[in-house]
């Protein structure tokens, strides 16, 4: 053994733990099987795509998932409701506040305390969730621009995302995985002076979004690269369970913040941007990216209104205790419960079965938005060029932490 060098080539090194769906020996002579990932920068994480090509044309794409599977649902069956929140953070790790918001809301509705929460708690939740939505969209648009060859926007957006992360870090001490929204309340009230800093951020970001629109979205090279690429029709989108900016990019006005009207969203005015095919066909990669940028603007409007509420009718008082409603024991009565909420990437759902006798869910299933959104990729990529496959994958905006859970 000692004289054997492990780095030298051996056919066993190329053995797949996950077998291919297509047999390389059974291909026709013009067909080629190309493996993309799991360590490829354009797959946005650890996703492996088995791609069947004919020349440069994609004939089929088979995603192989599970490289980041961390057994969320198995862990959740062994933990009390409040201790699951840190695990929820780690699903979609670039939009943790939104996931926490959905989860906490679900448990509160099961307990029947959802409508007794102080309004200030709800407004703070919406504030941090919308901040996190903007930072998630920044990653989506920034990495997408980088995928298709524009390097500068990525750095600009990462710089601005950093300002948001610093604000969120100020609330709870963590940059990404917050555990800030608790079942029944919040960890802390927002720090003194936070509202002013948020106003400053909104003032700073508005011109930057216009700049982003100019340098990326309306850029001729970007339009040529994304318009008419990966066109997703509404019917296909709904049939595959595609939600969020992808579904809205296809032209359907379906935003759960409006449809389910949860939290304080009914008290806030905002538009739901949809794709119209302004540069090509409705539902192409350009539409999806444009919807994300338009949503950033709407989120800024929401933040403005929330700040008005947080400094006006629901302003900070000495008596306000964000943990006042946090239950000592979380024991919902026996029931099945499904909650869904609008995450930056789509419909995040949690299915709970409570058995009424323990503080631990009997079953907690997370319905991941990226999981369903990714499942449509073969439909989008078939018949296109392999270079377009990268453009399509980037426009789906996946986070593997949430797909694999």
């Amino acid at each position: 053994m000692a004289d054997k060098i492990q780095y030298e080539y051996h056919p066993d090194h190329l053995r797949n733990s996950e077998p291919l769906k297509y047999d390389p020996a059974g291909l026709r002579s013009e067909e080629l099987l190309v493996n993309i990932g799991p360590q490829h920068p354009s797959t946005h994480g650890v996703l492996r795509l088995e791609t069947l090509l004919e020349g440069e044309v994609v004939k089929d794409v088979i995603p192989h998932l599970g490289y980041l599977h961390r057994c969320f649902e198995k862990h959740a069956e062994a933990l009390p409701y409040n201790q699951i929140i840190p695990y929820v953070d780690r699903m979609d790790y670039v939009a943790s506040m939104n996931s926490e918001h959905a989860y906490a809301m679900g448990v509160e509705k099961m307990l029947g305390i959802a409508d007794q929460l102080p309004k200030r708690v709800e407004y703070v939740r919406v504030l941090v969730a919308e901040l996190n939505r903007i930072s998630s969209h920044f990653i989506a648009v920034g990495t997408y621009a980088m995928d298709i060859g524009a390097f500068t926007p990525f750095f600009w957006l990462m710089r601005d995302r950093e300002h948001i992360l610093r604000l969120l870090e100020w609330t709870c001490g963590a940059r990404l995985l917050y555990n800030y929204i608790w079942v029944g309340g919040l960890y802390y009230d927002i720090p003194v002076g936070f509202e002013d800093r948020c106003r400053e951020l909104v003032r700073y970001l508005r011109p930057k979004i216009d700049e982003l629109q100019k340098i990326v979205i309306d850029n001729k090279i970007f339009v040529e690269r994304t318009a008419n690429v990966g066109v997703l029709s509404i019917d296909t989108a709904i049939n595959y369970g595609v939600t969020g900016p992808m579904l809205r990019g296809s032209g359907l006005k379906y935003d759960l913040r409006k449809v389910d009207a949860y939290s304080v969203y009914p008290e806030i005015e905002f538009e739901v941007p949809i794709g119209t095919g302004a540069m090509g066909s409705t539902g192409d990669c350009w539409d999806r990216t444009w919807v994300r940028v338009a949503e950033i603007r709407e989120s800024l409007n929401i933040i403005d209104q929330v700040l008005d509420a947080l400094t006006g009718p629901h302003k900070r008082t000495r008596e306000f205790d964000p943990q006042a409603m946090v239950p000592k024991k979380i024991r919902p009565k026996a029931q099945d419960f499904y909650i869904r909420a609008e995450n930056p990437k789509g419909e995040l759902g949690f299915f709970f079965r409570a058995d009424g006798s323990t503080d631990v869910p009997f079953r907690c299933k997370a319905r991941s938005c990226c999981f369903s959104n990714l499942s449509v990729i073969a439909e989008l990529a078939k018949g296109g060029m392999i270079a377009d496959l990268i453009a399509i994958l980037g426009s789906i905006d996946i986070v593997l932490g949430e797909i694999d859970r």
Binding site: S17, G66, N239, Q335, R340, S372
Partner: protein, 167 residues
């Protein structure tokens, strides 16, 4: 948006009688408890009937009640985007004992393509077979993994390709 009673009434009228064994209005959204052989008929009625039109299958969740109870469930959450209806379907199955074949549910992937991946996930984690699924493989775990981890009596294997599984 129809409430649960109106919804079940309309569905029973369309199907020529209730094909479900019971209802569970305490669930959110309200649930029908059904036998696997009636699933496809109910799904077809839910998707195709004028005024119901459940076009969005949000989620399929497996559930294991444990070897003592000897039952498993597959739970479907359906939404209708134009009308705003919502419903939950709970399919009851008999749990298989050692050496018995896996419990079988008909696949709904013919109605909603969402089911293609969600059913693979349930198969992977619970060991429930979906009859008529075009490509039923494991999805989250490696294809040579042993057992179905979300079963209540799951024991993980000692080693996977020479790597100790326990941590």
């Amino acid at each position: 948006m129809m409430d649960f009673e109106a919804l079940t009434g309309k569905l029973a009228e369309h199907l020529g009688g209730p094909l479900w064994t019971e209802t569970d209005p305490s669930a959110t959204p309200g649930a029908l408890i059904i036998q696997p052989e009636n699933l496809l008929k109910i799904c077809e009625a839910l998707q195709k009937t004028e005024g119901l039109y459940f076009d969005l299958l949000s989620c399929i969740a497996g559930l294991d009640n444990g070897p003592e109870k000897g039952s498993m469930e597959v739970i479907y959450i359906l939404h209708s985007i134009p009308y705003g209806h919502k419903i939950m379907l709970k399919v009851m199955l008999t749990r298989n004992k050692d050496q018995e074949p896996l419990p079988v549910v008909p696949s709904v992937s013919g109605f909603w393509k969402t089911a293609l991946w969600h059913e693979r996930e349930v198969y992977d984690l619970f060991g429930i077979h979906f009859e008529g699924h075009p490509d039923l493989r494991r999805i989250l775990l490696p294809s040579d993994w042993e057992g179905h981890p979300l079963r209540k009596d799951y024991q993980h294997q000692e080693k996977y390709h020479g790597i100790k599984v326990a941590y």
